[in-house]
Amino acid sequence: MKKFGIAVGVLVILVWCLLPVAWIISMSFKDELSITNGNPGFLPSDGTFAGWENYRAVWDNDQFRRAIFNSIGISLIATVLSVIVATLAAYAIARLEFTGKKLVLTMALAIAMFPVVSLVGPLFDMWRAFGIYDTWPGLIIPYMSFTLPLAIWTLSAFFREIPWEMEQAAQVDGATSWQAFRKVIVPLAAPGVFTAAILTFFFAWNDFVFGISLTSTEAARPIPASLAFFVGSDPFNRPASLLAAAAVIATIPIIVVVLIFQRKIVAGLTSGAVKG
C-alpha cells in the first residue's frame, strides 16, 4: 500500500515535471506553416511533422547563434568571477572572526531578496554614463553581484562541513592562515565550489530583466531576451514552432548539466542538508 502510494507519487512528479518539456519538444516539430494556420493538439497533427526543419532554421539564424554565444560567454565569465570572489568571502565567513561579518551576511541576504527591476532604471542611466551599456561587462557586473549571495551562502555551508582540524594542523606546523587556506582547504572545498558554480551559471543563464534592459542589439543580448524578440517569417504572430526549437536548444545545456550533476545541485540548493 505504501509502496503503491510512493510509486503513484513518483509518476505524478515525472508527469508534472516532464510533460511541459515533452510539449515544447513536440511543438518544435510542428510545421511552421501549420502553426500560423492553427495546429492545436499535443502532437503535430497529420502531415504537419516538420522533422528537423525548425531546428535547422533556428540554427541558421545568426541572431540566435549570436545570442547563444553571448549567453555562454557572459554566463561563464560571470560564474568564474563570482565564484572566485564568493569563495574568498565564504571562507572568511565560515572560518575567521572579523568585524563586519554581520554586514556581509546582511548584505548578501538583502541582495538575494532585492527586486531586480528596481535597479534597472538607475543602472541603465549609470551604464550609459560609463559607456558599458549594451556590452558584455554591462551584464557581467550585475550577474556577479546577484549571484554572490547564493554563492556565498552555498559555499559557507559547504565550508562549515570541511574537517577544519586539518587546517589547524597546518597552522600548528607553522603555516599562516593564507597558506592553510590555499594548500589545505582549496582542494577540499573544490566540490562545493563546483556546485556553487553550477547554481551561479543557472542564474546567469536564466536572467531576463537585465538582459532586456541593459542591451539593445545583438552585441550583448543574451538568449532569454533574444527569444522574447525573436522574429519569424510571420511578423504578426510569434513563430511558435521556431521559438520552441530555439527554446529546446537553449535548454539543452541545462539538461546536460542537470543529468551529470543532479546530486551536487540538490546538495547545493539545500546546502548539504540532504545526504546521498
Partner: protein, 444 residues
Amino acid sequence: MTNHSGDPASLAPTTRRGSRRSARRGLATAAALGLTATLLAACGDDGKPVLNWYVNPDGVATFEKWAEKCSTDDYEIDVQLLPSSATEQRTQLARRLAAEDSSTDIMNLDPVFVAEFANAGWLQEIPEDHWGEIEGDVLEGPAETVTWDDKVYALPLWANTQVLWYRKTLAEQAGLDMSQPVTWQQVIDAAADNGGTVGVQGNKYEAYVVWINALVQGAGGEIVADTEKGRDASVEIDSDAGRAAAEVIQRLAESEAAQPDLSVSNEGTSLGLMYPEEGPGEFMVNWTFAYKNYADTVSPEQLEDLGWARYPQTVEGEESKPPVGGIDIGVGAYSENPDEAMAAAQCITQKDAQVELALTDGLMPSTESAYEEVISDGSYPEDLVELWRTSVDEGGPRPESAFYALISGAIQERWHSPTSVDPDSTPDNSAEYLEAVLKGEALL
C-alpha cells in the same frame, strides 16, 4: 498577448500563409546579414567608415540590397535588425540614442515617433536643399509625418494605409453596394446577418490605436489637438466623435460578426478568415500588404472574389479618414559620420528603392513619381493602387506629438479590451486619464 505590433512598421511582405520558401529566404537573409555585420565590424574594412542602418524586419532582403547599392568608396552601410513590434523598435532605438550612441547612424522610424525623437534632439535636420528638391513629389500624408516644429527631420521611405478588404460574394449576399462608401454599421450588420465576420486589430498594441484614431477622425474629431504644446495638448476624445468611435467598437464587440480572438487580434490573425473552410469569409480593414499576401497564397478563383473599398465611414455621409503609416528614415544626431549618413539616407529613399519595395515587398511608396511607376508596372490592379494613393493622400495621421508614446499608451490602457468599450463611459474616462498621464499625474 504578443508584443508584435502590426503597426505599419511591422508589416511584412511575407505572409501568414507565407510559403516555406519565403521563410527559408528570410532566415537565410538574416543569417547572411548578421554574418556580414560581424565581419565588417571585426575588420573595420580598410579604414572605411561603417554606417549602421537599423531596420524593422520587413523587406529586409530589399534593405540589404539597397544598403549595398548605396555604399560608396567612402563608406559602407551595414544593416542591423530591430524587433518586430513598433513599440519595441522605438524602445531599442531610443535607448541607444539616449545613451548618445555614435554608432546609430541611419534608422527606420515609425512616423509617429519622429516628433518624439526630433524633440529629444536625437535626429539630424534634413538639409533644406535636399528637401526642397523632393518636397513637391512627396505625398501630403507622409510629408506631414516628417515635419516637426517647422523643420524636417526624416525622409519618407514608404507610406502605408488601410483599406476595406472583403469577399465580393459576401457583399453581394448582403446586398451591400460596394461602389458607394459604406459605413462601419453597414459592414458589421452585413457580416453578422450572413454568417461572416469583421476583421480588425483589437489587441492591446499600437494598431488598436490606429483603428481608434481612424474611427475618431472619421467622425470629424481628434484624440488630441494642439499637440505642439506637448504635455499641455488639449485632449478631445471626450466628444461626439469619441462616442461615435466607441459605438462602432461596441457594436462590433457585441455582434455575431466579431472574431473569437477580437481582444488579441492583429493584422495577421484575421487574414486567414477571408477564406475560411466554412462560412462566407469576412470584411477586414488591413494594410496594403494584404493584397500581395492573398495573391501569393490563394487560388486565382479565390483571388477573383477579393474586393477592396475605401476605409468605412464612422458616421454616414462623412468621409472616412483611412489610417496612414509607413516608415521614415532618420539620421542619428550623434553619428560619427553625419554627412555620409545623410547622403546614405537620401540614397536609400530614392525613387528606385521605393518602387522596388512596392513591387517585391508590397510596401507602397511615399512619392507621386514612384506611384506612377508602380502603376505602370502592372503588378497591382490599377484601381487598387489608385485607392491606396487616395487613401494615403486623404488619410488621417495619428497625433503628432513628442509625447505620442504616452498618448498611445493611455488610449490602449482605457480602450482595451474592445469588449469593455462603452460609448457612455470610455471616451470620458480615457480623456480624464490621458490628461492626467500627459501632466505626469497618473501612471501608465
